[in-house]
Symmetry: none
Subunit: 203 residues, 2 copies
Amino acid sequence: MSAIRVLIAEDQAMILGALAALLAGEPDLAVCARAVNGRAALCALAAERPDVLVTDIEMPEMTGLTLAAEARARFPATQVVILTTFARPGYLRRALEAGARGYLLKDRPAAELAEAVRRVHRGERVIDPELAAEAWASDPDPLTERERQILWRAGEGRSSAEIAAEVHLSEGTVRNYLSEAISKLGAANRIEAARIARQKGWL
Amino acid sequence: MSAIRVLIAEDQAMILGALAALLAGEPDLAVCARAVNGRAALCALAAERPDVLVTDIEMPEMTGLTLAAEARARFPATQVVILTTFARPGYLRRALEAGARGYLLKDRPAAELAEAVRRVHRGERVIDPELAAEAWASDPDPLTERERQILWRAGEGRSSAEIAAEVHLSEGTVRNYLSEAISKLGAANRIEAARIARQKGWL
DNA sequence: GCGCCGGCATGACAAGTGTCACGCGCGAGT
DNA sequence: ACTCGCGCGTGACACTTGTCATGCCGGCGC
């Protein structure tokens, strides 16, 4: 029985090295290549044809999501696991549409990475359970386009009057939209509302 | 010759595990404990008295910078290495003021971490060279400790009254500090002030 | 001792913010 | 034609925020 061959793509070199060291500790896994951006990862995919690709999302040159789609199209034998900081349902959805078989968060225990690689290689899907629940349960974005537009500006520190001028509304209306957004998000003020919306990926 | 004992603090569990695996590959280093936030790290410091503390900056409970200061004050035998994503001169300055002996970026090669630990343990300083150059050119942090403390909370969306209760000051005083911070940063309000300070690495 | 400065506080005022009730016009559904 | 919802606006009110002048007190230099 030969080891599962893994390619890791991650833009922070030290994290890349650390993840490689982590997987190197598993006897049934072998890190056959590393890449610090999406383009390098594609080259490595072509050269090595690994069993599993583990990739970050936010990388220069090419994001992990487009990399996943490319990998799916050109090297269907390679299964893709997304490994990211961001628990955003929007990212998960796009990852699955791109053909990724796994979606794992960087704040999960280290042991889950190796396990996810094994399970994906067996043909299973591995989705972070909390995120999966959240993705289906959470009502997708209670904000209207106007509210988003205005709340975003408020989060940057602009005053109601400035926002009103920017979006061509009256100041009172801007305050109404903000009030509405604040109550929808259960916040105490515009700042907290912006924080919550950002965190949920609605801004 | 016994191994250098290292404590790692990092809020993303998988990265924490990966870094530990990375250092575990070095025969002269031993990871004696791990912590996923500043408070846990302090406990581990007291219990283990490691030779070197490697810590992230942005963590829940207590940031790596305050952790570094605490470590310096209470466990001076432990040398501190900051390991972070952020190449912000303000962070570097505060890290050094807090008594850190090393400041390393996560996008440096993985091998530098072990090397930095060794050098810091020998009493040397290890500062990311690019960042060190930039740090001298940039303007210094204008904020006092109080202003930072209060502005940070304001940036989270808390009201003056809430902040006053948290830091045991009167509400008027909190407003005075915020006003001072706003004018120092050339901002129009607390939100913009927090944004500017964050971007410069002063929060 | 004295003056001086920094941290903290108070009070007052103007401006900005959050909420609510209400009104207008417009397109869609019946 | 009538109502309904929706996007937008107004005005009023209470509250929060930003600013400033002023003052207290403890530590420091001299």
